[in-house]
């Protein structure tokens, strides 16, 4: 009889401390971001506490800064290309992992997932050497190729997780009703994978947008946004950086909201959403 009592006690103490613990974690996660945003409105630069002379001057400066906007555009282009490349290779790879049986499948799965745990330095350096050997001039294209290859593993794991949840009898029903394999893929498999694919695309887009290590090795003349910011940091922090970071933060927030609305609209089970938010390494 003692055991349940003790369990009850500990759950009472736990319930007292847990909210504080949660608040602490939350603060640890978000205080830096809040600080970043607040100081983007600080009239007296990044130093000084508390912030005073609230101003939009840094934003005005930012909007006039062409180099930043060029780099933002470059980053967007790279991220879009990375999404297309990684999904273009990742979806077939996931299908192969889910359906096909071929010799060396286990090895293939591990190799596809390897770039996830491989340090960016290795990926970047090896790609740099490859491009050198192939005599390809470094440019935004090489960065996009770098991001694309590094993120195939993310696309594969996300789509693979979606395939695992798919009810196979639905595909059989489609074949049974006279649809061939391609029609079945297009009308049944793909719509069922829609959320996995959108989730993967958003994740890859975000990861590509803030990627530094691989980009650093593959950069040509055109900067991406993280490299532009990094370059400026060497000349000292200005609240202009805070301003651009705040804008990125707001956009990410919107992206998540849009994705969430999509999910609600498509009436799919909530656990799929949880799956998409999980770390991609868990898809194996």
């Amino acid at each position: 009889m003692e055991l349940p009592l003790r369990a009850l006690e500990s759950s009472v103490t736990a319930s007292r401390w847990l909210p504080w613990h949660a608040a602490l974690v939350f603060g640890f996660l978000y205080l830096p971001i809040v600080t970043l945003i607040v100081y983007s409105f600080n009239g007296s630069g990044v130093g000084g506490f508390p912030p005073r002379d609230l101003t939009l001057a840094w934003y005005r400066l930012l909007f006039a800064d062409e180099a930043i906007w060029t780099s933002v555009l470059n980053s967007l282009l790279v991220a879009i290309a990375a999404v297309i490349i990684s999904l273009g290779f990742g979806i077939p790879a996931a299908l192969a992992l889910d359906r096909a049986n071929f010799p060396g499948k286990a090895l293939f799965r591990r190799l596809v997932l390897l770039p996830l745990i491989l340090p960016g330095i290795i990926t970047g350096l090896s790609l740099l050497m490859l491009f050198r050997e192939a005599d390809i001039k470094l440019s935004l294209l090489t960065i996009a190729l770098g991001h694309g290859t590094a993120l195939i593993s993310v696309a594969t794991t996300e789509v693979f997780a979606g395939l695992q949840k798919l009810d196979r009898s639905q595909e059989e029903a489609s074949l049974d009703l006279g649809a061939n394999y391609w029609q079945t893929f297009r009308h049944v498999t793909l719509p069922n994978l829609r959320l996995s694919i959108i989730g993967a695309a958003l994740l890859i887009f975000t990861l590509s947008m803030d990627e530094i290590a691989v980009s650093f090795f593959l950069i040509g003349r055109d900067n991406t946004l993280p490299l532009e910011i990094w370059g400026r940091l060497r000349r000292g922090i200005t609240p202009e950086i805070n301003a651009i970071s705040s804008i990125i933060f707001v956009f990410s927030l919107f992206a998540i909201l849009i994705w969430y609305r999509l999910r609600v609209a498509s009436e799919v089970q909530p656990e799929i959403a949880a799956e998409l938010l999980e770390s991609p390494a868990q898809g194996d």
Binding site: A173, L175, D176
Partner: protein, 368 residues
């Protein structure tokens, strides 16, 4: 080929003498080292309702999946009239399936689900619309055309799955335990509906189930499958009154299995003995509980009389099942109409022709 085929709406049993619609010839299948089907040969007639009955693991679903084209047989052939079916991919077979859990497309409405086969077949819009309407009306789901499958009940999903399969006007409809996900009442109602629908459309049904009662109620013929082998293929009446094997006798209905020693035309099981037309040796007999009666008193010399004591009585509504212990300890079940007040010692009898000799099934003689 019209969906509502009035000619076959009559309840006359299908003619098996003509060329069968589907012939399964010596089909065998193993998963790894585990044989699932061994040398199955079976025929389905045009317009027939054939039930493949078996316990789980008997291979019934695998057989269905081979006919549909989702599995490939290791050996054997499947023919639909003059066309070899097993060489075709599922989408070229004029066979449609109702899946156990319906497998409706969750992202499409009821209407789109039903119209799916017509859409991929690129049927002209007007035709497909009217056929979908007709199919939905047939299963009384017109009001739910715009609903997504997630918003309707299990029984309704069942009807949609039926409409989705039948709208393609298959030659043969396969049903994989389609009623097992429904509760008992709905299930009984759907049995009747399904059977009358089958009569109405005149399409041959191959229905897979593990429920012998369901098989009895609905089928023209039952193919009893056990461990990948056919035990008996016959009409429900035939299989009940003349089971071929001990397993068939026990699986379909209740029975008493008697192991008897036959010598010179007399079978003996403990104190019971009755005349038979069998060679000498050990034989197995099935004696249905309802064929044991309380002796009427008139000395009909054909009947075999014996004494027994009622040791257990189970009320089944219209009938009661009595457990009888004979003088020599032999236990028998007998069925009487309810309210007979049969207690204590009774004088009982049975006709020798009701003791049906059955083939031995391995490890199936649990009755005695």
């Amino acid at each position: 080929m019209v969906l509502i085929n009035t000619e076959s709406a009559s309840s006359s049993p299908p003619k098996l003498g003509t060329q069968p619609l589907l012939s399964i010839r010596n089909v065998a299948k193993s998963f790894g080292r585990n044989p699932v089907l061994r040398d199955i040969s079976l025929q389905v007639a045009e317009g027939e309702f054939l039930t493949v009955l078996g316990e789980s693991g008997s291979g019934k679903t695998t057989l269905l999946r081979i006919i549909a084209g989702f599995e490939t047989a290791d050996s054997g052939e499947i023919w639909m009239e003059a066309q070899r079916l097993d060489a075709l991919p599922p989408y070229h077979r004029r066979v449609n399936t109702v899946f156990q859990y319906y497998a409706l497309f969750p992202h499409l409405t009821v209407e789109e689900n039903v119209g799916y086969g017509l859409k991929v077949a690129k049927l002209p819009k007007e035709q497909s619309v009217s056929r979908v309407e007709q199919a939905l009306a047939m299963v009384k789901m017109t009001a739910y055309a715009e609903f997504k499958p997630g918003k309707i009940s299990g029984g309704q999903q069942q009807r949609v799955a039926l409409a989705r399969a039948l709208v393609n006007r298959p030659r043969l409809l396969l049903l994989d335990e389609p009623l097992s996900a429904l509760d008992a009442n709905l299930r009984r109602q759907m049995q009747v509906e399904l059977k009358s629908l089958q009569r109405e459309v005149g399409i041959a049904f191959v229905f897979v189930t593990h429920d012998q009662e369901e098989a009895m109620v609905m089928s023209d013929r039952i193919a009893l499958l056990r461990r990948g082998e056919l035990e008996q293929v016959a009409s429900p009446r035939e299989i009940y009154s003349h089971p071929a094997t001990a397993y068939a006798a026990q699986f379909i209905g209740h029975t008493n299995l008697l192991t008897a020693e036959v010598s010179r035309g007399i079978a003996r099981c403990k104190s019971l003995s009755w005349p038979v037309k069998l060679p000498d040796g050990v034989a197995l007999f099935s004696l249905r509980p309802e064929n044991i009666r309380v002796a009427a008193g008139n000395t009909d010399s054909d009947r075999i009389g014996f004494r027994g004591k009622v040791i257990w009585q189970a009320f089944h509504g219209a009938t009661e099942l009595l457990q009888i212990e004979c003088i020599d300890g032999l236990l028998l079940s007998m069925r009487t109409a309810s309210g007979q007040n049969s207690r204590g010692n009774l004088l009982l009898e049975f006709s020798p022709e009701d003791a049906i000799p059955v083939r031995k099934s391995q490890e199936a003689e649990k009755g005695l």
